[in-house]
Amino acid sequence: MSTFATRFGRRLHLCGLVTLPAGHSLDPALVVVSIGPVPTPGPGRVFVSLANLASRHGMAALRFGVEPRAARASDDSAMLDILDALGHAGELGCGSSFVVLAAGDVARHVLLAAVSDGRVSGVMLPGEPGISDARLPDGRILRACSPSLPQVPDAALSSPVADEWAGQCIGWIRSNVASRGTAVEVGT
């Protein structure tokens, strides 16, 4: 298991941390989107636990932070950042399909990115059950999510709480993505 830092994005303005498993990466890779600060993926220790656990299950993980809402150039910039992250994870060989986990106010942007990028096979929006059937701007309804996952714990240090939450996320991926092929469905 190894973790390295990487920069990407249209202006190389994003910083991501990639955790690779000891062996070959298995699909899907995990992309964790948190809300800034942009130089780091965010203060939550839970995402470190999640990346490490994913690695132990053979999945690569890229975690990064998008700019806080007030700092975003436009409403689309968060979605573009997420698409950039997916592209970068692909370039790094993390995997050929992705499960995206979003924390904070970027849930809608993640869903839009999932529709735009055909490689997204699952979306986790912990603690956002209201978004499980999200209506997109064009009227379609996206059924993609994980309403049963609890919200991201505010664990700033490593702890059993963070580890247990990470275990629930990996379990959800195992049972909802790996076995069913895709968790993203677009209906009307």
Partner: protein, 260 residues
């Protein structure tokens, strides 16, 4: 901005290095010792804005996360405080090597200030200036405050069958808590570090009063009044408030560059 890992390869520290703006580059590097939970999340945006402002003013800057916090590797465990103090030393050495600067300064935020002062006092690093931003003065008082934070405010932890300390909002193990209680900026052995220290007070906290009582009001440099008026580190209700960066940039830069 260059994110990277450094230090012990078994438990590397995560750092972000910011090169100085070329036009005003100085022979100076600043290591930023961040706050820890629960203050970390409230100050991390301001910390990075500060880091950028300091780099724009011509200083090399290194921000880093302590062992087992933020994006650095490791798990919280025995001897944690000693690890954190060593991390400060490691970061200072890394900044010196990265920048080649001969004038090294440390900016410590909240508990990071107390850790930085302690580390500088114990390792006798050749520090030019120590700037303490809303530094925690008494580790004992800080621990008391953390203990009073209600877990339910942050995360419903009660369903977990784990040790009591793991149910605390931030999972400080007992030996870390007890060792933190021994740290105090007012202790005699800290005076070596305090001689080279400058203080910036932005948010309201009990630490500010302790500091003024110990050093005298004149020695405590006040930041912009707007920050002191509406920001308190100790309000439970203010846990989602952010330390406003714009009002501390000026005083922090002035403290760093005083006499240069």
């Amino acid at each position: 901005m260059n994110p990277f890992f450094f230090g012990d390869s078994k438990a590397p520290l995560f750092g972000v290095y910011l090169a100085p703006r070329v036009a005003v580059a100085r022979d100076s590097a600043v290591v930023i010792c961040p706050a820890t939970a629960p203050d970390y999340a409230r100050s991390v945006d301001a910390m990075h804005a500060l880091a950028q402002a300091i780099a724009d003013a011509g200083h090399h800057v290194l921000c880093f996360d302590y062992h087992a916090t933020g994006s650095s590797a490791g798990e919280i465990g025995p001897g944690q405080l000693l690890r954190w103090l060593r991390n400060v030393d490691t970061a200072i050495r890394e900044a010196a090597a990265l920048s080649g600067a001969t004038r090294l300064s440390v900016l410590g935020i909240r508990l990071g200030g107390l850790l930085a002062a302690t580390a500088v006092s114990t390792i006798n690093a050749p520090i030019h200036r120590l700037v303490l931003l809303d530094a925690v003065v008494s580790g004992k008082e800080y621990v008391r405050w953390i203990r009073n934070l209600r877990p339910k405010y942050f995360w419903p932890l009660t369903r977990y069958r784990v040790s009591a300390w793991q149910l605390s909002p931030f999972g400080y193990p007992p030996d870390l808590v007890s060792s933190l209680c021994y740290l105090d900026l007012r202790s005699e052995w800290q005076q070596f570090a305090l001689v080279r220290s400058r203080f910036v007070c932005a948010g309201r906290s009990a630490d500010q009063a302790l500091l003024e009582e110990h050093l005298g009001r004149k020695l405590v440099r006040k930041a912009a009044a707007s920050a002191a008026g509406d920001f308190s580190w100790e309000s439970r209700l203010a846990a989602n408030m952010q330390l406003p960066a714009n009002c501390v940039i000026g005083p922090v830069l002035a403290a760093l560059e005083e006499g240069s």
